[in-house]
Symmetry: C2
Subunit: 424 residues, 2 copies
Amino acid sequence: MAQSTEGVRAIALAAKAAATKLATTTTDERNGALAAMARALRARSADIVSANAQDMERERAGGMKESLLDRLMLDEARIEAMAAALEDLVGLPDPIGIVQQQHTLYNGIELKRVSVPLGVVAMVYEARPNVTADAAGICIKTGNAVVLRGGSAAIHSNNVISDVLLEAAVASGMPEGCIAAIKTTDRSATDELMSLRGIVDVLIPRGGAGLINRCVEKSKVPVIETGTGNCHVYVEATADFDSARAILINSKCRRPGVCNTAETLLVDAAVAEDFLSLAMADLAERGVAMYADAAALAIAQAQGIAGVEEATEKDWETEYLAMEIAVRCVAGVEEAVAHINTYGTKHSEAIVTADESAAAAFCAAVDAAAVYVNASTAFTDGGQFGLGAEIGISTQKLHARGPFALEALTSYKYVLRGSGQVRS
Amino acid sequence: MAQSTEGVRAIALAAKAAATKLATTTTDERNGALAAMARALRARSADIVSANAQDMERERAGGMKESLLDRLMLDEARIEAMAAALEDLVGLPDPIGIVQQQHTLYNGIELKRVSVPLGVVAMVYEARPNVTADAAGICIKTGNAVVLRGGSAAIHSNNVISDVLLEAAVASGMPEGCIAAIKTTDRSATDELMSLRGIVDVLIPRGGAGLINRCVEKSKVPVIETGTGNCHVYVEATADFDSARAILINSKCRRPGVCNTAETLLVDAAVAEDFLSLAMADLAERGVAMYADAAALAIAQAQGIAGVEEATEKDWETEYLAMEIAVRCVAGVEEAVAHINTYGTKHSEAIVTADESAAAAFCAAVDAAAVYVNASTAFTDGGQFGLGAEIGISTQKLHARGPFALEALTSYKYVLRGSGQVRS
């Protein structure tokens, strides 16, 4: 596979050269390119739909599940949504060139800390072709070159979309190579991308746990880890039951396949019998399978609630991403926090309580990107948080945490202006 | 080596437990611990000097160079300096608990983004035992637990210092395990530390390029890369020669062994003959060996300047960390920037010029942590930049860039307070 490996390196080097030029573009120039990219998507929608039809046909023949086929599919309406998303970026404030700090040193040197693009962003993702346009748009907005490595199921769609976007960007003054797709489905291309330390500045995987773990474990390029969420709803003894039941059902059932969904219910032992009699019945009614500790299991059995099995250690660790939930009784806030900090993935954690001291203790001690008091975990989302865009949800603590967008694609540099100063 | 590997994991797990408790300590509690740690260093200085004497004796017998022995050596004065540095931290603002963003979502949920400790910081360093106290102090200041992995040459010194600091911290209310040294010299302990993703939140290597590369390449824990600096001084055609000569000599000769020292001189061809006749003579006079491109070599030969050899490609890439420098003539700013962005390590880069447009172009296009106009690269330092402390100088672009200190040991969490909100 020497040829494809060489190809990836060449693409990344061209992106690096483009990044140097992008770093000196103006806000207006980049916004102009985004508007042109949106127009180009609309103008070329027939070509995109046609390329997508090839992907759909091949994957349908290959037995891809309907739910995945739906994520792969592009039609005029979805292309319009991609174009509109690019136009939305135009309206967001430019995060580049912000003077974050400024002071004069003792010796007269003027120091400024100024936000700058990261440089070359590599995006590795699965079969959703809209990510191609989203990622390219967010990178152009922030003055970064982007190397796109989409899933092989969307190869034709991604290749056409990235060509259309690059052409429009270059025609409106962006440098050649600023948007580059890896046009092979060879898996070694991803490995090569992960090895390009010094050329690629950050690698962002979007997809399932397998993809993310592979990137985190193998990449020599810094990674922003996204996505896996083993989230909890903790019902403290003073919780309002109606509110707790609504938050639990929303956190678990709204979209069970997404990362902010709740995977374990923790409940204070003092109210377990009363609360679980109601809550487990709610869950059973909605077809949610339950894996309960001995105390919760006994309550389910006493109440004749169906669909409850005994939990094992593995259940505390599992991100079901399905209509399944683990249930455990705890002695109080401290034990709930200990459970969450042991098994959680630092994503989204909720407490339902009427006790301010319990809420404060939970918020301070739980180690997660988003901590909720009396609200559903389903709100962890860049749009809901008001970021205006979203690249992903970071579950690491360096650089970006929680829903992240434009700011996460910036770094800063110190610019120091003197008049001949030397250090004694 | 199963035993030591198990030991490292156990230490890190204890640090993780400590981190959960540290996250809920107050500013005053942490500052009180720092003051107690300073007092303890002074009170136990005889024990520390005695342990250090064992390290010195063994390393002297083993043939360690005098310059390294000097870095290893501790006496009363150096221990006093370590204690004073801990007390200096007390006076710095607390970076934890800062509300960075705050707004009310459309649905009434109150969102705050609050700075929090990273959690468990692993510090991997070489034979300077003062780093043990510096790192422990900076971590306690920022509410982080620290796992210290010092160089084997300082093993006795580090073990005593970390014991003294931990004892003082715990006696003043910090949790057990908050400061932990790895007390084996077994190299596999570092590998184990680098594998503890999910337990250790960040790994910071301080030392030579070999150590840093090993960590960046092998670590599954996120790394803040520090240190290597292939820095340039670029003398543009309009530069004031006196100023340029002073900046060049200061950037190269002040402390040639540190990372902010200049390793290549770039000079505009238009002024190369006039400038290099003076500057290469300056360098030769100070005993700096030069590796020059053909044009610069011809000037040296015409002027009879000694100690100049022809440069090879390798010279552009080399961080000499010695009284050696590469010299190259360029056509102008664009070529200077291209050279720097090809061979530099994104550390510190200087232009000397009287032309504002050249200065602006250089600052915008050079990809480095610190960019200087008419000042020496020797200023890249946390103290000089006014950070109040320094952990290292980051040459990566994620999370922290350039000299970094307390802020780099923080993350943030979103705290969302509602009244029963669920997402539609």
